[in-house]
Structures are given as C-alpha cells and as structure tokens.
Amino acid sequence: MQEIINRAKELLADGTVARVLGWRIGDLPYNPEPSYFETAEDLEKNFVYDGFCGANLSKYMIEGSKLEGKTLVFLKPCDTYSFNQLIKENRVDREKAYIIGVGCKGKLDVEKIKAQGIKGILSISGAEIEGDAETLTVNTLYGDKTVAYKDAMLERCHVCKGKEHMIFDEEIGESKDTKDADRFAEVEKIEAMKPEEKFAYFQKELSKCIRCNACRNVCPACSCRKCVFDSTKFDSAQKANADSFEEKMFHIIRAFHVAGRCTDCGECSRVCPQGIPLHLFNRKFIKDIDEFYGDYQAGADAESKGPLTSFTFGDVEPGVTGGRR
C-alpha cells in the first residue's frame, strides 16, 4: 500500500496529476469509501487499499473527466473493463485520466463474515494488500475469530475475469487468481427450474427491493445523466413500491439497458443493502448474448460495436430461444 501512496505523492508533486481518486479509510474497519485526495498529507493519513476496497472507481471518472487537469485513478483488473466501456461511450476522457492498475487478491464481503455469526467487529487483519494471508483474523468485542479469506470473498471474485488490466498507464502490485467457480453456474441453475419455481425465486428476491437505487448509482454502465425511471418521458418515474411488479420492471429494464454494455463487475450485487443477487439478471443477458451471438466481453476493448447495436442476417428468432428450458 505504501508503494501506491508513494507513487501517488510523486505524481501529485511533479504535477502530472491534479488529484488522486482512491479509497479513503472509513469509520469502520471494513467500509473504505471512494474519495479524491489532493495533498500528500491527506494521502498519507487517510488513503487505504485493502481487501475491502471493492468499489469500482471508473464511474467516478465521468465527473473526474470534467475537472481541471489529470486525475490519478486506481483501477483493479476488473474495473478496467468498465473504464474501457466508458471510453467507448464517450463518457470519460482518456486524456484526463492517469491510470494505475493495482493488483487484486480478491475483494472481501463483510456480510459473508457476518454471516458466519461474527458480530461486534473491531478490526480485521489479513485483509491488507501485502502478504498472502489465507485467513482473516477478526478482532471482535467477543474475542478473536478467524475466517478463511476465500470464504469471505465477494461472489464476483470467485468468477474473476482475470489478472490482466485492460487499460493502464502503469501497474503496481501483483494479482491473484481467485476464480474457483463457473460464471454461469447460478444462471444455469435458475434456467433449469420450472417456470413456477423461477417465478417464486425472483418474486422472493425482488420483493426485498426497497428501490434505494444503490445498484443504479454504483453501476458504471448506468451512467445516464438522468435515468428513465426518473424521467417524465416514460411516465415511469419512481413510485412507491406497493407491488411486486415495480421492481421487476425496474430490474428487467435496468438489465436491458446495460445489456451488451455490462462488464459483469458485480458492483450492483455488492452494494445492494438487501442482498439481492442482481448480477443474475445481467449475467443472464451476458450468457444469452454469448450463446446467441458469439462470445462477447464488454469493455475488453474501447472500439467494437456492442451486440445490441449490431446484427447478422441469420440471428436466432425470438421466442425460439425462449423455448429452451
């Protein structure tokens, strides 16, 4: 971490960048937050990069691009896909960003720790970016507990897209191969269900939705200046959630709007306060796109046309595809 901080201070000092976009120590040991740093002191005192820094900073560069001078931004390998996609859509200015690709050893989910019955967390060791800890030691009000690092990892890290940064100016740190699950296994499990079961499953999950819009706000693909769900143009402006349809409509349309653009960064599921596995919508579209139109990874480059803005003469017919059980 110190290497990162030192490099940031250098770049600030020599005027290469006007500010640093990174993670600031939070009020709890596991909730760092995205933040700008403009001084060496601030960096030294408050910058953090550890296992809890899951936040994808690429979306913040939309605003960052509008600021005077360059911004130094730290991107994990998976975040670079989002950044590329944002370049493709002219939402960020590559010239305004100085990208340091940082290493990643899998990001942690405090909910997974809590789910193991661990309460009253005071501090956590083993989450540091240095070292190769296999276990986390959680110091709690009730004494020390240990959790295997793997068991506390975010879902997305189990299906990691890889250790490579798709775009960067320089790289710092090593990444670790954390992939130990099939990306589409969960989607396939649902696909195999009977319609009633599918419906019951999503009904149960989506009825938890409180329409806090966290998923939308964090999503690097959901970068519209004004969301259609806040717009009067569709008569779909937010209403109170009196019924289950609202969130279905919202989540289907949200997934549809990002279809072919979603890099599967998993931020939506990470931030959902209700723990809804929102990535299952996006991943379904990704799976369908791969199957119908050939493998496609959004953000792998910044030029190619997305699958929904291109076609072939022999594309599958709608409905025929829906017939798969």
Binding site: V187, I190, E191, M193, P195, E196, E197, K198, F199, A200, Y201, F202, Q203, V228, F234, S236, A242, D243, F245, E246, K248, M249, I252, I253, A255, F256, A259, F281, K284, F285, D288, I289, F292, Y293, P307, L308, T309, F311, T312, F313, D315, V316, E317, P318, G319, T321, G322, G323, R324
Partner: protein, 147 residues
C-alpha cells in the same frame, strides 16, 4: 390462475405492428375479411425497431395477457435493418421473461409481410388461443392497475 375462470376469460392482447408490412398485412386481413378475435388490439409503429421492451412490460403491467410484435420479414425491412435490431432485442427480452418465470408464449414475434393477410389472421388466431390457454397474466401485472 383459476382454471374455472377460463371459460369466460377474454384475454387482452396488444399487437405492435410495423407500418410498412405487418400493419398493411393486418389491413389486408381486414379487406379479405379474415377474422380473428376482437381481443387483439393493434398499435401502429413505424418499424419493429421502434418497439421498446419498456412498451411490452408496460402492457403487461397494465394488465395485458399477451403481447405480440409483428414486423417485416428479415431482409424486407422498409428501413433496411430495423427488424434485425428488433430481433436481437426481443430475443433477449423474451429469454429474460422466460428466465424470471413468465409463462412461455405470452410474448411472440412474427414476421408478416404486407401480402400475408392470411398469415396475419392465422397468427392472431393462434396467439389468442395460446394466451387463452395460458389464462390471465398474473405474474407481471401491477395489481394497482387492475380495476
């Protein structure tokens, strides 16, 4: 879904038809007096690519029991490529509806040319029969919209 209600059940069906082929096909069905149930109501759009998935979900939200989209045959689009995009969009949307457990068959895409009055009426007859057999749409309806 009550089975007993099925006997008097008259489905609400929204059909999006592109102006150049399918709407004309529906006109031809009309001028050829080829009947299909009155449950089908057609909305004219310039091209199948004008059909936003939002429109389809909205129809279901408001209580439609089935939604069908008709366009020119692939290759015959008045705007040359519109229906190709529509085809991809609908393929994904329908797959998603399937995925969240909406009964298969509540949505349909059919390519109907201006000359296919017969096909138009046949398609609508089939679709109405299918929706009638599926019964009322309860999985996507916003109950607040029900009168």
């Amino acid at each position: 879904m009550s089975i007993t209600a099925n006997e008097e059940f008259r489905p609400k069906i929204v059909a999006f038809c592109c102006n150049w082929c399918s709407y004309a096909g529906a006109d031809l069905a009309g001028s050829s007096r080829l009947t299909y149930p009155a449950d089908v109501k057609i909305i004219r759009v310039p091209c199948s690519c004008r059909v936003n998935p939002m429109f389809i979900l909205r129809a279901f939200e408001k209580g439609a029991d089935g939604v069908i989209m008709c366009g020119c045959h692939p290759g015959d689009c008045h705007y040359s490529t519109g229906n190709y995009y529509a085809r991809r969009r609908m393929a994904l949307l329908f797959s998603m509806l399937d995925y969240i457990g909406v009964e298969h068959g509540r949505t349909r895409v059919e390519w109907v040319s201006a000359a296919e009055g017969v096909k138009f009426s046949q398609t609508m007859n089939e679709f109405v029969a299918k929706i009638t057999s599926l019964g009322k749409n309860v999985r996507l309806e916003d109950l607040r919209c029900r009168k």
